[in-house]
Amino acid sequence: MPIIETRDLKKVFRSIKREPGIGGALSTLFSRTYEEKIAVENVNLSLDAGEVIGYIGPNGAGKSTTIKMLTGILVPSSGTIRVAGIVPHERRRENAHNIGVVFGQRSQLYWDLPLRESFELLRAIYGVPRDRYLQNLKHFSDILDLERFMATPVRQLSLGERMRGDFAAAMLHDPKIVYLDEPTIGLDVVAKEAIRGFISEVNRDRGTTVILTTHDLADVERLSRRIVLIDKGTVIYNGSLERLRTEYGTHRTLVVNLSEPYPEFAIEGAELESREQTTVRLRFDRAKMSAEALIRRVTERYSITDVSIIEPDIESIVRRIYLEGYHQPTPAATSLT
């Protein structure tokens, strides 16, 4: 049985429609017309315990709205949600015991107090038994290297240190599920890696279920096997990273270094992506032409010094889907796991 399940989840926000100009501003004081905006629609998610999914979408796609509904602080307009057997917004406090939340842009730590004091407070809030608390704290402190700044007021911590503190804070009560909303935003490479290592360890050792929203696809590639792509409020892809890569990464790029600049350079069966002096980039469809055939075709006509092939990365695939929309190549791909 899945630990998180949503059915036809929909959230509509109602806002006052504002007319432009001063006249419009005054008229909204007296008569109000409302307009409705669909934030998310037809969101069907199903996660098994211990799964990590990447929840990906451009700004305003509906990621945070979905997370808020899963935490129980936003009531869906229609559709159903079950998180660990509970309807979150009906039993908000009970649901809160099952979940941990980390927002990259917002801290749950006490700004004016040393980090340790925030942990003590969370221990009281969740009623974590003292021995369990100390055990968790020791464990997280070892992985995240918290000891150095445990006594420092949170406002004096660097972003990377604060985020590590926030991760420990979210995990102190052994939640079954954690929601991570852009947890690596603004972090340097070292801090990102520390955070990713922590998520992956927690998932492996404790079987914690993780929903990760991020703009940094490296997070997803490192941590999850499955991604859910959401755009304009609806899920446009739900499946494995590999499948997306093979279905969508149909085009590869051949980079050719020519021994002399050929102004008339052209190859049929491949599209000239760019050229800078003697370096040309050729985009080609892997289904229509093999790399070997293309290289042969190039070398038959031009003298070259070097070639290399660039495989499509997930980031460029996702960028393309945002721009062009997702076209299911086969009907099988539409089934939602």
């Binding site: 602080i73 009531v75 406090r93 009970e94 015991h97 979940i99 939340v101 004016d112 009623g127």
Partner: protein, 270 residues
């Protein structure tokens, strides 16, 4: 889900209050300025009342020593009552961090109350050093133990009335995000009609009936008039009854406005 999890636990709220005390203690400069400005105001009000009383006939029920006692005790109470202990709600609505609190297994209004009480308790501790400093400048009458006890009970009721007034005001931020204007108006009204600066018994009689019935009088005026003995023990039940009535009315209003505001956040997404 075990039953233990659903039952009420006091521990988090005690901890919220403790953390609020610790937080306030980190602002040492605030502490010194609060005490400093208190001492200055005690001295200024003493000068004002001496000047006024030397040119006018003193009201029989409030001789000079009584009015100086009144204004000094009023300023001491102000160390506690002038704090907007639910300001944090406005801040949280403003920056959206209220969402994080709703994700915790706690009652959010109770959390705000505990946090505010911790803040107030810290400032209440400042009363002692402030009083000692004030005694170098002014003489403060001390009433009998019974009157003192009634004063403290009435003061506590006044604090709770003040808490709900502040809470309701900060709840307005659910809709407007900003409450500066409303807050300014409230400060003016409490300064004038609460009896902190000018005892309400000095107002024209016709006006007194009206202002004594307002909740602002329940904050400062009632405990102060008990302290200086203008309200006699025979009327204690009546005046504290009025305080309790306001407390109940404000608590009901606060409950409704909080529910409406929280619903707005969880249905409309803030």
């Amino acid at each position: 889900m075990s039953l233990a999890r659903r039952s009420f636990r006091l521990a988090p709220y005690v901890e919220f209050a403790k953390k609020a005390i610790a937080r306030e203690a980190t602002y040492r400069f605030e502490v010194f300025t609060a005490i400093g400005s208190f001492v200055v105001r005690v001295y200024l009000l003493r000068m004002v009342w001496i000047a006024l009383y030397s040119r006018n006939a003193a009201p029989s029920e409030l001789p000079l020593h009584a009015i100086i006692t009144y204004s000094t005790v009023a300023l001491l109470m102000g160390l506690v009552l002038d704090i907007d202990q639910t300001r944090i709600l406005h801040d949280k609505l403003h920056d959206g961090s209220i969402a994080t609190d709703f994700m915790k297994p706690i009652s959010v209004p109770l959390y705000l109350f505990s946090d505010g009480t911790g803040e107030v308790l810290f400032h209440a501790a400042l009363i002692v050093p402030s009083l000692i400093l004030a005694l170098f400048l002014v003489h403060v009458d001390v009433p009998s133990a019974g009157v003192l006890l009634a004063f403290f009970v009435s003061f506590l009721l006044g604090y709770l009335v003040g808490f709900f007034i502040n809470f309701i005001l900060n709840c307005i931020a659910f809709w407007t995000l900003e409450i500066h204007a409303a807050q300014l108006i409230l400060t003016w009204v409490t300064d004038l009609l609460g009896g902190q600066i000018i005892p309400l018994v000095l107002f024209p009689l016709a006006f007194q009936k009206f202002i004594f019935a307002l909740p602002f009088a329940a904050m400062f005026s009632t405990p102060l008039l008990i302290y200086v003995g203008i309200i006699k023990p025979a009327r204690y039940l009546e005046v504290m009854g009025l305080q309790v009535m306001w407390l109940a009315i404000l608590a009901v209003i606060a409950t409704f406005i909080w529910r409406a505001g929280a619903k707005r956040v969880i249905v409309q997404g803030g």
